[in-house]
């Protein structure tokens, strides 16, 4: 006769959980870890034009990157843009997320949809929209000149400003949605308690709201920073050829120059820089507010 299985959830002794983890684990291993390992191996190879790459075991590609002010400048520019975009996303996103989280309006769902809506449109399409707005005869310049504010078109396209605006527009919904879900979980009473004890709004925010929202701030910052560091379509379309960042550099090294070893090295440097800066910023924020 069959026996009853009355083992509580999560109790070891059966391979159920492991069995369920197998597909995802294999997918991650095959789809992520193996390609990363292969890419790292490629980055240690040598490059000869026409031969794609030559088997070797050298760190020359990494040395080339760090010894060349041009590549260091590209990395620095990428970090600068990513940090600026993340800070602006946090500054713009927090008040918006707070209002969304606290509003009692019956239109709250519509407001959330309005935040999510831009995500329905691809990055390249949104960048194309900005191109129309920023061009020398685009919406902004035509408006400014039409109103007599400027006499000649402003150079917005193919500048750092255009890229920063474009990336903020892409990343802001991620920041807002992440923050909103965390702020919603903070009991409104703790804010009221701070006010009732005489804390002005800023003090309440600094001493109560921000520390409690820290997990959301961290998640939002990490998400937007990683997205900004690895941005491709926006820098290419709004920054133009002169504004070179790491994402497009990886692509051009691989796909235009067919230099896979150096492309592999650039990819790893981008990945490592993103990881280090993400961990560093997380530690910094934790130390500041935790």
């Amino acid at each position: 006769m069959a026996t009853l299985t009355q083992r509580p959830v999560g109790e070891p002794g059966n391979l159920t959980a492991a069995g369920l983890l197998v597909p995802a684990s294999i997918f991650v291993a095959i789809g992520l870890l193996v390609p990363i390992a292969i890419l790292f191996r490629y980055s240690l190879n040598a490059f000869e034009p026409g031969k794609l790459m030559v088997d070797a075991l050298t760190i020359a590609n990494y040395v080339k990157f760090f010894n060349d002010p041009f590549y260091l400048q590209v990395l620095w520019r990428t970090v600068r843009v990513a940090v600026a975009c993340t800070i602006f996303c946090l500054l713009f996103g927090f008040p918006l997320a707070y209002v969304l989280a606290r509003t009692q309006s019956r239109f709250k769902n519509l407001l959330v949809m309005a935040i999510v809506l831009p995500l329905f449109v691809g990055n390249a399409v949104r960048a194309a929209g900005w191109m129309v707005a920023f061009g020398s005869k685009g919406f902004i310049n035509a408006s400014l000149m039409g109103l007599g504010i400027t006499s000649a078109p402003l150079e917005i396209m193919y500048t750092e400003l255009a890229v920063v605006i474009g990336i903020i527009a892409v990343n802001l919904p991620f920041m807002v949605l992440t923050l909103q879900s965390v702020i919603e979980g903070i009991d409104r009473n703790v804010e009221e308690a701070a006010f009732s004890l005489g804390a002005p709004p800023m003090t309440m925010a600094m001493r109560v709201l921000f520390p409690l929202a820290l997990p959301g701030i961290l998640a939002g910052v990490i998400l937007t920073f990683i997205l900004a560091m690895n941005a491709y379509a926006t820098p290419v379309l709004l920054g133009g050829p002169k504004f070179q960042t790491m994402g497009p550099l990886v692509f051009s090294t691989f796909a235009q120059q067919n230099n896979w070893p150096f492309g592999g090295a650039v990819s790893f440097i981008l990945m490592t820089a993103t990881l280090i800066l993400t961990v560093a910023s997380s530690l910094l924020i934790r130390r500041r507010y935790a």
Binding site: L20, P23, F27, G50, F70, S136, G240, A255
Partner: protein, 354 residues
């Protein structure tokens, strides 16, 4: 309480499903190994977009399919396709039969040892091919030239030489295309010293133009947009593109440079390990057919590479070159280009674009 029998319980079922899904993942990539190609199947590597569509319309559908060929297009930009050919070099059977590349890229593939020498006796249209499109390692399909493009309303008198395309007097009305760095640098050499390989002298011209405020656009399309909005008024581009832009209503004229127009030839080569070389030759012959070439001239604005194609005089005037211009047309020094490309690209990125 609900009873579940051992071996049939929910957890075991879920576990089984999980393992089954995992098992299903494993052979997913393995089942895709190249199956033996049926006779008459031709795999053609090509750029996507209009070119791929027009190959189907003007070459594959009218000339190959009626003969029973099954044509499969492997669409990608040229760099990954070149990388694939080099990566497959050691395999006895590659995955493509014929590859569409520019003349410079065909040269590079030949230098890398992956191009099958062309046996022109296997091409019934071989006798019609114009000399500039006949390479030992590939055959030209379409031809155009790098000409001066300008807005006739804003640039007077009309430019006549490549040198005009680097003149700082045009300031920020002068535009270059990033992905065309090779031709721009070679044109600068021609303009500065009458020699495409005079890179150093050409660089001086380029830097002077840059100091004057010249703009750089990422793509051909961005350059066209800038011409349309009159952000720029002069630059250089394939004559075929100028025709397409004129058709799109952009105020642009093309002028052949007095230094001699640099030729742009795009064609096809056969990888050494192509599984169906007979099919590849059939494809080449089809692309050289009179009708196919004439339709490409109409649809794309590129000139034919066969002598028997007849292009209407008004179209010929727009897409082609005069007898004198044809005489002065210059083919590129592909060997020089292959050896210097990496250095050229590095200078372009680090110095000119910086």
């Amino acid at each position: 309480m609900t009873k579940f029998t051992k071996g049939m319980d929910r957890r075991t079922t879920l576990k089984g499903m999980g393992l089954a899904a995992a098992g299903a993942l494993l052979p997913a990539g393995l089942g895709q190994t190249a199956s033996a190609q049926a006779a008459g199947r031709v795999v053609v590597g090509t750029w996507g977009g209009d070119y791929a569509r027009l190959l189907a319309k003007n070459v594959e559908d009218p000339f190959l399919k009626p003969k029973g060929f099954e044509v499969v297009q492997d669409q990608a930009s040229d760099a990954p396709r070149r990388a694939k050919m080099v990566a497959e070099r050691r395999l006895p059977r590659g995955t493509t039969d014929i590859q569409g590349l520019s003349a410079a890229q065909m040269f590079e593939m030949n230098a890398a040892g992956v191009a099958e020498p062309i046996d022109y006796s296997k091409l019934k249209n071989a006798a019609n091919i114009i000399p500039i499109a006949k390479y030992p390692y590939g055959v030209g399909h379409i031809i155009s030239g790098k000409v001066i493009v300008y807005n006739p309303k804003l640039v007077t008198p009309a430019p006549t030489s490549y040198k005009d395309c680097f003149d700082p007097k045009y300031g920020n009305k002068l535009g270059f295309i990033d992905i065309q760095y090779q031709f721009v640098m070679l044109a600068a050499g021609l303009a500065a010293a009458g020699d495409m390989t005079a890179l150093e002298k050409g660089k001086e011209l380029l830097l002077a133009a840059k100091r004057g405020g010249a703009r750089i656009y990422p793509t051909n399309e961005a350059f066209a947009q800038a011409l349309k909005t009159e952000e720029i008024s002069i630059g250089m581009m394939w004559k075929a593109r100028a025709v397409q832009w004129q058709n799109a209503g952009i105020a642009v004229e093309a002028a052949a440079p007095s230094e001699g127009t640099m030729a742009y030839v795009s064609g096809f080569m056969i990888p050494k390990n192509a599984p169906n070389k007979a099919g590849a030759y059939a494809y080449m012959d089809a692309m050289l057919e009179k009708g196919a070439q004439e339709n490409f001239a109409v649809d794309m604005g590129f000139g034919p590479t066969v002598t028997n194609a007849v292009v209407a005089p008004d179209l010929q005037k727009r897409i082609g070159f005069t007898e004198d211009e044809n005489k002065k047309m210059r083919d590129l020094d592909y060997d020089f280009l292959a050896k210097n490309d990496a250095a050229m690209k590095e200078w372009w990125d680090k110095v000119f674009k910086a």
